[in-house]
Amino acid sequence: MSKNDIKVALIGNPNTGKTSLFNQLTGLNQKVGNYPGVTVDKKQGVSKLSATQNAIITDLPGTYSINPTSIDESIVLKTLLNKDISASPDVILVVADIENLKRNLLLFSQIKDLEIPTVLAINMVDQMTKKGITIDLSILKKELNTEVVLISARKNEGIQDVKEAIIRCHVAAKASPLCSIDSKIDADYFAKLKEITPNYSMYELWLMVTQNNFPDSISDKEKEKLLDFQRDFSKLKNYQHKETIYRYQEINKILKKTYLVDKNKATDLRSRLDKIFTHKIFGYAIFVFILLLIFQSIFDWASVPMDFIDATFADISGFAKKQLPAGVLSDLITEGIIPGIGGVIIFIPQIAILFMFIAILEETGYMSRVVFLMDRIMRRFGMNGKSVIPLISGTACAIPAIMATRTISSWKERLITILVTPFTTCSARLPIYAILIALIIPSKKVFGFLNLQGLVLLSLYALGFATAVLAAFILHKTLHINTKSFFVVEMPNYKLPSIKNVFFEVLEKTKSFVLEAGKIILALSIVLWFLASNGPSSFDKAEQNTIENVANQNLSVDELQQKIASAKLENSYIGILGKSIEPTIKPLGYDWKIGIALITSFAAREVFVGTLATIYSVEADDEDATTIKQKMASEINPDTGQKRFNFAVGMSLMVFYAFAMQCMATLAIVKRETKSWKWPLVQLFGMGLLAYISSLVTYQILS
């Protein structure tokens, strides 16, 4: 970033094609960071405006107004009030949708009053003829007293004009308010407000008062004076209402001179599609059908790349083992780091496919219809129609799902959604379910056509959703948080999804998973590797003892190696840990070996299978499922002489993993999003307790 770069803040209503414009301006030159102190992602990109001039473009969350109602939207105000030279924008680029120009201009009028140079880009002008819209650009420019550009971001039209307008606007560096709200509402009141400090415009001070949002550069004395204005709350509210009405009056005056819609040309595609998608029977049927289609595709499409990733990482590990000199460091790399990274990468296909579907559903405008259909049902459980999106995303991974709750403006509804999302069956639970189902459920058909194993898997998904909803209901009745639940969702026009936008969305969500979950899974893998490959004195003797014990059994080299590995694990720190928790988990039907796997799978649930593979002395880099399965199937419980993984133990384990909060990365994200350790701890112990009791009951009934 160079000093001469123009800092541009990109602002606009949701569904105006703001993301398309951002992607057109910056291409692949974008990165996601965090705003200091807040959790919302900050998307920035570099755009080449001319041969000599670059711009740093910050894509701010979509909002209808700079008066925020959700965490996402509060970022916009924070960024705009910031006078810090390095962060405050030089130029604001407001994106508006030609069809909803009136409402879009409200946000524009607020921005304009901040007295920062502003460019207005009116998007989707390719739709003008179809929608019967005509616009007088030169008068509009004069009336709005700003640079106005007509663009079609999806078709990449007018982007050059935007770039030139940004440069002109930056050079001119003049800015004047559009609406003089003071004289229309209460001139004396606003004059007193303006007297507080000359460093901010009157409208900026007004925003600080109404939104209770004070930048660092405001002194304590000034802040005190501003707080005085908050005393009369009903006056404040009344003036805010008056302000909005006045703004609309001004906008209407301007649009009357410049904007014309021929209503006869409006198509009724929206109303026809709405009749189907929000129909009381077809609406839900289509939603369920789409969900089934998504899950089916995830299973079908993801298995090939997942097998490939699995095999590749085993190869890399094997290759590294051969190339590196034997020693602790090489063990760390081949047994700790490489499988750790592999354990993260393997989930990318499923996560990317799911987020591709979600991005398409959002791009087309269908997701808003789902929110509309589901709000009443979700509200009964203390959630919001918007909670549907995190709950569906949770079937891939709870991390991006929890981040998707930010659009929910009611804190109680958002918190409940965050707390119950980890109950939905995420992709890390699948390997566990897969192997246990293969062990304990016979592969036969029921009713002639349904595969019993598939049916059990489906019931586990249903169990996850049902528990999430039930837990939400209990939280709804027990949590006493007084926040106003307010709900308004725009129902955008239906449109075809843009491949570019879907691609960038999938890239961003996958990145957030890899970075957030990845670093924790990797770190824990290394810790667990250390605990498994070190131990007290008995650990060092394990190899020698094993060799002596089996000396006359005539084992092959491979078999001997497996025996040694198994004996070492038993005597390692983690083996000792497993044995020490054995009394607690015995009533659930588990032994110390399963105990080890329960502990290691805290990094991520799927580590369970890998750990058992190691314990049952299957070679670590040959995770051939049938071998693990055979070893698990032949494992005997010495107390009963029966199979260890019988029906009761298998069911008990599946129930345990369905409920337990076995994921450090999710706990870390919940801590970040709720800004407190209280809620992740509630999840850890609440879900843990539920898991323990349910598994206990399951095992005791079935055994």
């Binding site: 009136k102 308004v488 129902m491």
Partner: protein, 83 residues
């Protein structure tokens, strides 16, 4: 014909396809966010759809297509063009 003033009419009492005008006296009952989205006193409002479980409702006002909950809708009085 002049609009008939019916004090019991709110957005929540509209039928699908019916049109009303937001009354001026409602101003203080309209949440700021809705106001900002175009739900202004005097504006023409059409009920487009009611969700299958009778809530939320789907309205069109000032060119904005919005879904709002019934509890919010019930607070906003309207004048119906008499029919």
């Amino acid at each position: 014909m002049l609009p008939k003033i019916n004090s019991l009419s709110t957005i929540a009492t509209l039928h699908i396809g019916e049109i009303g005008y937001i009354s001026e006296e409602s101003l203080d009952f309209i949440p700021l966010k809705l106001l900002e989205m175009g739900c202004l006193p005097g504006a023409e409002i059409e009920l487009i759809q009611i969700a299958p479980l009778k809530d939320p409702i789907y309205i069109c006002v000032n060119g904005s297509h919005l879904a709002i909950r019934k509890e919010t809708a019930a607070k906003i009085k309207i004048l119906k063009s008499n029919s």
